[in-house]
């Protein structure tokens, strides 16, 4: 993060001087006024100078990359970090060997990291930043396997007439199951239980 202190006759002049040195625009920085220029009394006492500290704001993507890089290093995982901004969302993908530790059992570590990443970056940026974290396309693969599971289970429910309770899933994962079966006229889905053990139930539609 780069910071510059500068002086000037007025706050505006001091800021302008700092911006010129940093080579950035006004909207890219945060300004902290360290000293206001003194009031001139009867024109006798010379005016004091304004002193400001100007700090270049980091983008959400930079803050996110920094955090995840530090965390992975401390976890002993080596990975490449790609960040892509699409509309107001940040998509991060990690690629490398042995990302098992980052993904965890059924993606629970990946979900935990994503949650913390959202907290940390939103806090630093002073606004809500929505970030999606994936590792080696894990979420895409998981989504495909959940859709296959949904269809398999619906077949079983139709065959046996018994309702089937799936294992606990995150809200996002449950949504994938609900969506996969929403147009199936013979079965219907609901969720039961409390987070984080909430489960999807598939039953015959009556």
């Amino acid at each position: 993060m780069s910071t510059k202190e500068a002086m000037g006759k007025t706050v505006e002049e001091a800021v302008a001087a700092a911006l010129a040195e940093l080579g950035v625009g006004r909207e890219e920085v945060e300004v902290e006024v360290l000293e206001e220029p003194g009031r001139r009394i009867l024109g006798l006492i010379p005016r004091g100078q304004a002193r400001v500290r100007v700090t270049v704001k980091q983008s959400g993507a930079e803050v996110a990359r920094r955090f995840i890089t530090d965390v992975m290093r401390a976890m002993g995982v080596e990975a490449r970090v790609e960040v892509e901004q699409k509309e107001e969302f940040l998509y991060m993908n990690l690629s490398g060997n042995n990302l098992g530790k980052v993904i965890g059992r059924r993606g629970d570590t990946l979900d935990a990291l994503q949650y913390l990443l959202n907290m940390v970056v939103s806090r630093k940026m002073g606004e809500h930043v929505r970030i999606f974290l994936d590792a080696e396309g894990y979420r895409q693969r998981r989504e495909e396997s959940l859709i296959r599971l949904a269809h398999r289970v619906s077949e079983r429910v139709k065959r046996t007439g018994n309702r089937v309770v799936l294992e606990p899933m995150t809200p996002h994962e449950r949504r994938i199951i609900h969506t996969a079966l929403q147009n199936d006229r013979q079965v219907y889905t609901l969720s039961e239980g409390e987070e984080p053990y909430r489960k999807v139930v598939v039953t015959l539609r009556r």
């Binding site: 955090f67 530090d70 965390v71 401390a74 976890m75 002993g76 530790k101 980052v102 965890g104 629970d108 570590t109 979900d111 935990a112 990291l113 949650y115 913390l116 907290m119 940390v120 806090r123 984080p196």
Partner: protein, 76 residues
């Protein structure tokens, strides 16, 4: 793992300098004691303990291969 917990906690609190982690090796477990400034307790615990749970998940995953249980305690 101590370093990992420090990184996670420091990124979440208002007083990163007050973050302290003490790591203790027991026979079948590694116990990590996390201390933060009193006003930052809520930040590392979160609503319904969600932040604390996420921290535990990540730290446990990092220590997974050691064959020991990893316990994260947040102490006042």
């Amino acid at each position: 793992m101590k370093e990992l917990l420090e990184i996670l906690a420091r990124a979440l609190v208002d007083n990163p300098d007050a973050v302290q982690v003490n790591q203790e090796e027991k026979e079948n477990a590694i116990v990590l004691e996390l201390r933060v400034a009193a006003e930052d307790m809520g930040k590392v615990i979160g609503k319904q303990g969600r932040v604390a749970r996420a921290i535990r998940t990540v730290v446990r995953s990092a220590g997974g291969k050691l064959g020991k249980r990893v316990v994260v305690e947040i102490v006042q």
